[in-house]
Structures are given as structure tokens and as C-alpha cells.
């Protein structure tokens, strides 16, 4: 089944408000700020929480957040471990894994797309079919299965996420690149004596670059969602090492008592995803790619 090869639809993206609204300008700024804070504190995890993520004090379980000051500004979990510490270290896992996978996925998608654009009908058909098959198996399921076989561990999970994510880039780039390659100025370059690779390097890639940035952001957010879903289902990073999705699951029982254990990591996931999407959308608008991407 050909899934719309004439126009691509992003799996998700940020509000499409007419530019004249004041916040359509400020929103990306806010998003950027949020991301900086999150990423920053995740990178500085070892500074923020020198004691690490598994510093148990079972006598001090489920302390509520004190917000400012106090030993545990964001409270503690069932084993009296500092939530802030677990959140920042959990972020390392979640964001680290997701961004690596997103990069790989985008690269993979890009290469396959370009290959199928210049590679002729056979490769185009093959990769296209591959993408269809890929889409036919829900990413979550595929991940569950592969992980069930390959076991947890960093490499399998990254592989799974990459495999789950390449199609998006592939489709976006493929459509765009095949439009470009059909344009007269490509033929003009051929007339100048350009070979396929020169065409890619001089015209196709530059034309695809902004799109690629957008694809990357889209990839990242959808992969982060997938990653946390898996970790929520108990796959990927194993306790005691924290991961946001896993933390949501751990705290679920106490939603009504110690809400913070499961709500905070959830909120972080949402904030990250939405901010990234808003930025991605901003970029898309900037290059006026929105239509291509949707």
C-alpha cells in the first residue's frame, strides 16, 4: 500500500497559529528556554546529585516536595531516594538514548531516501516496500518483540528505536528529494556534466537540509515517546537505574498519595516532546517547509 507518496504528514507537530498572534513568536522562545533548562540539568546530573540515583533512606520514603530549599526539593520515592536526583539521571537515560537513536534514524532514513531517489526503480521499490512493512508492524510491538529476543541493554534498545524511527525521515526526504531531482535545474547541472553524486552534493542535499532538521526534531520527539512507552512497560533501562517512563510506572500506585513520584517524570517527558516539536515547527516555518512536512 503506498502511504501518501505525494504529500507527507508529520506524526505530530506544534500549534499552527497564524503568525500574527503575539505568542506564536514567544512560544518558540519559551520552548527553547524549557529545553535548555531540562537538557542542562540532565547534563549536570552528577553535579546536581553527587550522591547518585540510588541513595536509599527507607526511613524517609514518600517525602512530599518542599520545592525551594530542603534536602529533597522534589520529594522522595518509596525508598526515600531523592526525586530530583532520579529525575535528572532518568533524563540522562531517556534523552541520551532517544537523541542517539533519533540521529541514527535520521541518518538511516536520509541515506535510504537518497539511495532510492538516484538508485533507480529497483532500490526505490525495495526501500519503499521495506518502509510499508515497517509501518505495518506497530513500532511498540516490534520493539517489544525484538527486546524480548535480544534482551534489554543499550544496543538493542537503540537499534529498536532507530528501526522504529527511520521511516519518517525516509518518506519526508524521499518525496522532497524526488521532487527536486525532477526539477529543470538538476538537468541544467547534468548538462554541465554533473554525475549523480555531484547532483546530490550540490543541489539535492542543500535543498533537503532544512527539511532534515525538521525531520530530526519530529524523529526525536516520536522516538522519545516510544522510548518512554517501552520503559514504562518495563523494557530498556532496568532499575535501580532510573528512566522517566519507568519512573511513571513505579509511582503509578501512589498517584493518589505521593503523586510526585509518577507525575514529575511524566511532565518532563511531555515538556520535552512539546518543546522540541514547537521548535521543529518554528524551523519548518522559517524555511516555509510546513506544507512539505505535513
Amino acid at each position: 500500500m503506498t502511504l501518501l507518496d505525494d504529500q507527507i504528514v508529520s506524526v505530530s507537530s506544534a500549534p499552527r497559529a497564524p503568525r500574527r498572534h503575539w505568542w506564536s513568536a514567544t512560544l518558540p522562545a519559551i520552548a527553547a528556554l524549557i529545553l535548555i533548562v531540562i537538557v542542562g540539568s540532565v547534563l549536570l546530573a552528577h553535579v546536581i546529585a553527587p550522591e547518585g540515583y540510588n541513595d536509599q533512606q527507607i526511613t524517609a520514603s514518600y517525602l512530599p516536595p518542599t520545592w525551594f530549599g530542603g534536602a529533597h526539593p522534589l520529594g522522595t520515592d518509596d525508598l526515600g531516594r531523592d526525586m530530583l536526583a532520579r529525575l535528572v539521571y532518568g533524563g540522562r537515560a531517556a534523552l541520551g538514548i532517544s537523541s542517539i537513536s533519533a540521529l541514527l534514524a535520521t541518518t538511516l532514513g536520509l541515506s535510504l531516501a537518497l539511495a532510492s531517489v538516484i538508485g533507480g526503480r529497483f532500490w526505490d521499490g525495495l526501500f519503499g516496500r521495506l518502509a510499508d512493512v515497517q509501518l505495518a508492524i506497530p513500532a511498540v510491538l516490534l520493539a517489544l518483540i525484538v527486546l524480548a529476543f535480544a534482551g534489554d541493554g543499550l544496543v538493542p534498545i537503540v537499534v529498536v528505536l532507530t528501526v522504529g524511527g527511520w521511516v519518517l525521515t525516509f518518506r519526508i526526504v524521499r518525496v522532497h528529494a524526488s521532487r527536486i531531482i525532477a526539477l529543470p535545474y538538476i538537468e541544467a547541472a547534468r548538462l554541465g556534466g554533473a554525475r549523480s553524486l555531484a547532483l546530490l552534493r550540490r543541489h539535492v542535499l542543500p535543498a533537503t537540509l532544512p527539511l532534515l532538521v525538521v525531520a530530526l526534531t519530529l524523529n526525536f520527539s516520536s522516538i522519545l515517546v516510544l522510548e518512554s512507552s517501552l520503559s514504562y512497560l518495563g523494557l530498556g533501562v532496568q532499575p535501580p537505574q532510573p528512566d522517566w517512563g519507568q519512573m511513571v510506572a513505579e509511582g503509578q500506585a501512589q498517584l493518589n498519595g505521593a503523586y510526585w513520584v509518577s507525575i514529575f517524570p511524566g511532565i518532563l517527558i511531555v515538556l520535552t516532546v512539546v518543546s522540541v516539536q514547537i521548535l521543529g515547527d518554528r524551523i519548518a516555518d522559517h524555511f516555509s517547509l510546513t506544507e512539505t512536512v505535513r
Binding site: L183, P184, Y185, E187, A188, A189, R190, L191, G192, G193, A194, R195, S196, A198, R202, H203, P206, A207
Partner: protein
Amino acid sequence: MIPVSAELPIGTGIENGGRTPVLEVSGLRVGLANGTELLHGIDFKLFPRESLGIVGESGSGKTMTAMAVVGLLPGGVTATAGSIRVAGREVFNRDAATRRALLRDNFGVVFQNPAVSLNPRLTIFQQLREALPAQIRRSRTRSYARSLELLEHVGISRAADRLRAFPHELSGGLNQRVVIAMAIARSPQALIADEATTALDVSMQKQVLDLIDRLRQELNLGLIVVSHDIGVIADRTDDVLVLKDGNVVEHGPVAQVLGAPQHEYTRALLDAIPRLDGEVPDDAGDRPKIVLEGRGLTREFPVAGNHRRKVRALDSVDVSLHEGQALAVVGESGSGKTTLARILVGLDRPDAGDLTAFGKPVTGRSVARRRQELLDVQYIFQDPYAALDPRQTVSQIIAEPIELSGSPEQRSRKREMVLDLLDDVRLPRSFADRKPRQLSGGQRQRVVIARALALRPKVLVADEPVSSLDLSVQTRILDLLATLRAERDLSYLVISHDLAVIRQLCTDVVVMRDGKVVERGTTEEIFTSPRDAYTRQLLDAIPGGDWFRASPDSTSGQQAHPSVTASYQSPESE
């Protein structure tokens, strides 16, 4: 039909007692919501059976005027002041609904591009039915019958089948006829055609215009023809309205306005038209060696979707281009011109036949290979907008061929080569760092030409080099090409369906039809004594052909149009 018919004295539109005009526009002002005004007070009258032409450069307000009359102004644009009287009834101050209703019952509109003016989702019948008067529309049987009538009326045979077809299954000409059928479906007082034929190729253009004229006669319609093609106006209208920036600069009978233009703007418009009576370029006399030659070139394309059926774009075509020659390839749309050109420059491969360049056979299988063998043959694109990578600067664009396949020595002095080329195509050197979007159409075409010249080719192949440009620009580009040919003794192969262009640029002509060569000869021969019937038809089809062949002072308006008799045969010929 006759441009100015015996029973209607010339210019009746202007001072005419007695009959009430179908449409009377006075002081019409149109503006945007933000106050900027697009039309600054337009006045004209339109009487039944009379035709008014609106000309003017692009952006002058032609479409606005037409649309304001029928109340189809684009969103954000509104008619601010003035009066529009339809059959004597003022409609301007009416509320939107009634105004629309009134205008729609009195006017039929024919839009520019038939390909997109029909809803791709609905069959012709479903759409035609919507255009019918309410009382007919209600009954399917009557709608159906009426639709059949209409289609047959606009000269569409096999009407029943057409009614069941979807727009994309019909040719442009047929679709335009359908649109016309819709326009007359509510038997209006007047017809308004905005660039109704601009998108069609000459022969089809002629057929459609003939149809409109015929209907005008039969149905007593007033007619407004909006076009930037003065030829069309000259042939088809009684009065003409010359617009400039939303103002009427001249208004009067065609003969008067075009024959003895008062306003220099009008004159400028007229001068811009390539003339058919100009000097034919001197050809290279005795024919020395052949530079580019195709023998028995044949190319087939699969008909989209239907894998079994194939269309023969080229059917064993022989062409030979001699040194210093400027060879024209003419023919209606779809006759195989572009296909031929692409094969000659190696962008495409013939299914059969062989190509020889400078005596050496071209055998490369891949485009890249063929191009290596054909580097001395370069190509000029029809649409300069698409032919330039928007991300590159002019100098990058021009330098690219040098970087890719220039000699080391050339690469070393890339920069000054680029600047020289800019000089050659008469572009200021300062343009080197601009991007395409900062250039006008003409300037872009010059860049395209510069790039084509970068590797100092011996042959230039140009597909419709000017057809996408404003008239005013066209002539300058043609001049440039002519001078370049002289300066660098290039050989040209020029494709065009505009005979005026050919006449101005080429020494010899090849006429193509359905992928075959039907006639060849020197430009002089072809224009004066065309042998093939099809060639003659092409010549006749040129709008305003006679007008411009005759000397400006003669009141050529009178003289009968030679093709009238021949007009409108075989509507299905598209």
C-alpha cells in the same frame, strides 16, 4: 464572424443612443481592506453582440476589472465606489446575495486555465448541472437533456460520453469548451473571458476563440475579452480598453486605438510585439559541415497508467543542424518538439535511430556519459524560474559547469570567466552575488544563457526560450540570442510554437506534427509559400497575424480574416 460587422458601425460602444447597454460601469473603484486602491475609477459600456477587449501589462488590473463586474473579487478585495448597471438595473449598492444572483444570471465567466477551473472530483455532468437554472437543475432528466444540448452547442461530439467523464480525462480544449458551456448555461446577457485561451496552444486557441465568437453571434451576447495578447484583441474585439495601474489610459474602437495609439503606453505595448513582417535573419548561404545530426530518431512513452499503450513522441525523425545555421522546430503542443530537443542534447535516449555530434556518434548509455560526448551542445530552458537553483548565487550557477567539466586552466580563472559571461549576456557584474529570486524573469533567462555559454559550446538548443516571459522582455532576449549567434558564430536549434519568434531568429524551419516532420525549408519559404496544409493552418492560427503583416497605417481592421472560412473545422482535432 467579422471583427467589425457591417450592421454595427465602429465604436458604437462609445457614443450610442437608443439601445440600453448590457453592462454600464462608471467610476468603478476596487481596493484592498487596508485601503490601497487597485482600480481608480473605471468606466465603460457593453452592448449586446458587441465585444470589448481589455489589454494591459501584467498587474494592470484587467482581471480585477472583470471580476469586479461579476462579483467574484478575491477575498480581501472589494469594490469601494462607482456604479455597475446590469441591463439598466443598478447592482452596486445591492446586498451581496442579490447582487451576486443578478450578476450570475446575466454573465457567464470563462477562466484562464481550463485544467484547473473544473472540479477534478466530479463528472462533467455533475458540474454542468450545477450551472443550470434552478428550475431545470431540480429534475435530473431535464438537467441531463439540457447538458447534452449545451455540450453539443459548444461543439463537443460524443456528448453523452463526455458527460460521464472526469475533467482529467478530457483535453484542455475540451475542458475549456465545457467551461464555456457552463458560462452560457443560464443563457446570460454577456460573456466574460479572462485570458480564456492563454493556456492553450495556438491552433486550439483559435478554435476556442472562434467558438466564442460564434456563440456571441448566435446568442446575442455582449463579450468582454481580457488578454495581454494584443493579437487576440485585434482579431476579436470591436472596442478596446487599455489599462495601466488600474487606470484607463485609452478607450476606443480597436482600429483607432491600435492603429493610431494616442498614449505612449499603448505604443509601448504594441512595439513589444514581435512582428511577422520583420527581416528574416541571413542564413549561412552554402551549407558547410553538419554539427549535430539525428537519423531516424524514435521515442515512445508509456501512456500513464496504461502499460500496454504507448505514445510515439518521435517517429523516425531526421534532423541535421549545419554550422552557423539557426534551425527552428515548430509544431502544435504535443508534436514532439521538446522530446526531440532533449534527445539532441543527450538528456534523453532515443528508442531507435542514432545521434551524431561533430561527426562522432553519440553512444553513451547514461546521461552523464552522453553529456561528456555532447559538452559542445548546450541547452536553454523554457522556464528560467525552474532552471536555476534558488539556493545558489548567480556566480555559483554560472561557475558550476566550469567546475564540473571545465579544463584545469578554465577552473583556475573561474571568477573572471563568470564576470565576462555576465558582460556577454548584458548583465551588470554586480549581479554575480545575487540569488535568482532577486532577478526578474528576463534577467534569469540571461543567467540561464550565460551558464549555457560557460563551456564555450558550438551549439545552443533552446526550448521555448521566451514563451514564459513578458512580451516586453521577449524581444530583448531574442535580440540577445541573435547578437550572441553573430558574436560567437553559434549554431541554434530553437523550439517554439510562436512563429513570430521563429521568423525573428531562425534561418531554417522544420515543421513537426504527431512526432513526424511534415515540412522543412528556409524561413522565407515556409512563411511565404507553405506547402503542407498543416503548416498553413499553423500560420493562420497566429492571432492578429494579418493585422501585423499589413503596414500599421492601413485600417487593416476592415480586411477580412483569411482564416474565417477555414475557421472551426474538426473541433476534435485536439
